[in-house]
Symmetry: C2
Subunit: 253 residues, 2 copies
DNA sequence: CGCTCTTATTGACCTAAATCAAGACATTGC
DNA sequence: GCAATGTCTTGATTTAGGTCAATAAGAGCG
């Protein structure tokens, strides 16, 4: 028994069992035993500091990565050298799903602050699927979910005004934070104004002006990167309709 | 022997084996035997005419659909009732991938011309995966590929000028046609100007003006929906850089 | 503390693309 | 044939958001 215990302790620890982000990452929904197996396959590369990259567009794709702590932005680069930010990744979010089809990463993943990730080699994923078939559906889920999120972005960039874009962005961020147990009312932005602008298809000046305007109108309180949502209903009205609901609210107010 | 032959003939025909689009759809890469099994699970709902829908945003998701002939557009609808076209689907393309995560369709799929599809129930897909495990990777591939395409759209909508958007759109359409054995030089557009405009985040007048301009500049020949690419190099220069390559070409010319 | 560097704000002005408005083709049905 | 209708083109004008430029406000550091 003691020997067995020693053996156990000398094995790699079951990180994932105690990881607060396992609720969102690929391991979500696995049984305890499966999580232990999963955990054994996870590699932890050195954390990256702000501005450092985990992988770049064009790198060969060998493994998924799940954010453990910190925050990551992904962006594609056009032939002209311009960047377009595609998404922000919070703890539990899965990086690298785009690489499956072509075998190479199609975007660059860069840390916004000191960030550590959990790597799962694609080959190990395939093996794990045999032991834990539900993992297979979990990945499909994740891909499909990411796809829906990107389709919302297409709607934003294609049809929405700058006001609507920022309002939607903040509301999404707020629920993302809430889902991770943080305050939904006060958001500490991990990204710069310039990142937000790029993500929303705007320029930094426009974003800055919008923050100021929303503050004057009493919708937000803004202290650099600390954003307080003072009037969520109003923010939702701006986000969703730009006119109808908003006017109704105006009449009531 | 004869009895057996009769039995064979009385079974549903192996559609997929002779389908020219099987080269692009979910069945791609399966062995002959697997294709036959796959084919047996396929349902063919009645074709839809122009403007009719296969499914709508919010409908419950039960099956994938692959375009057999014709062309489909997909769009999401905002709370304000505005549409944003997300993609166009040619023969072989897979519809409904967005529904996996939530169990409901997240966009509406509408025929652009008389269109027939091949349906594969999600349950049947799961069963097929047991007999043909490669199908599982094929679906991941398709999802990942679609994702990459959507990321390119984000770059277009976020960073590109109207000129660049239309040029990229036409080039993509051209290679899509070429991949399906049609002419890469002359494209017969299945969608209206208004659909193109919506897809590219522009208004119809802008698209119309661009077509006219490209025609005057000798890049395209335009006869309503028949578009000829007269100067592909120039079109690529417009699509990719808007300036540098373009100016180089100008100097050479 | 003052110096530099990065990030953010604010104002004045400009432009790409939207909006508004009027026709011009095609296509369909009567 | 000719209304009627949907699709597309073209011109005149407006505007949301971009560009350019100056300033401010932190953050890190010797």
């Amino acid at each position: 028994m003691l020997v067995k215990n020693n053996e156990w302790f000398s094995q790699p620890k079951n990180h994932c069992a105690n990881c607060p982000s396992a609720r969102y990452c690929l391991a979500h929904g696995l049984s305890d035993g499966e999580v232990a197996q999963f955990s054994r396959k996870i590699k932890h590369p050195r954390p990256r500091h702000k501005g450092e990259k985990f992988f770049m567009m064009g790198d060969s794709f060998n493994s998924f990565a799940m954010v453990h702590s910190g925050c990551v932005k992904s962006y594609v680069t056009s032939r002209g050298g311009e960047h377009q930010i595609i998404g922000f990744y919070m703890p539990g979010d899965i990086l690298g799903l785009d690489g499956i089809a072509s075998g190479e990463h199609r975007y660059t993943a860069e840390a916004l602050e000191t960030t550590s990730i959990c790597e799962l080699a694609f080959r190990d994923y395939e093996d794990l699927c045999n032991c834990a078939p539900s993992l297979q559906w979990r990945l499909l889920d994740a891909l499909s979910q990411k796809m829906v999120a990107e389709q919302k972005m297409l709607l934003m960039l294609g049809k929405m005004t700058s006001e609507q874009r920022l309002a939607n962005f903040l509301l999404d961020l707020s629920s993302c934070m809430a889902a991770r147990g943080m305050s939904a009312q006060t958001i500490s932005l991990p990204m710069s104004r310039s990142d937000i602008a790029n993500y929303l298809g705007l320029v930094i000046e426009t974003v800055s002006r919008l923050f100021s305007r929303f503050q004057v109108e009493g919708v937000l309180t803004v202290q650099r990167r600390i954003i307080g949502i003072s009037d969520r209903t109003r923010l939702q009205a701006i986000a969703y309709n730009n006119c109808e609901d908003y006017c109704e609210l105006d009449r009531v107010a």
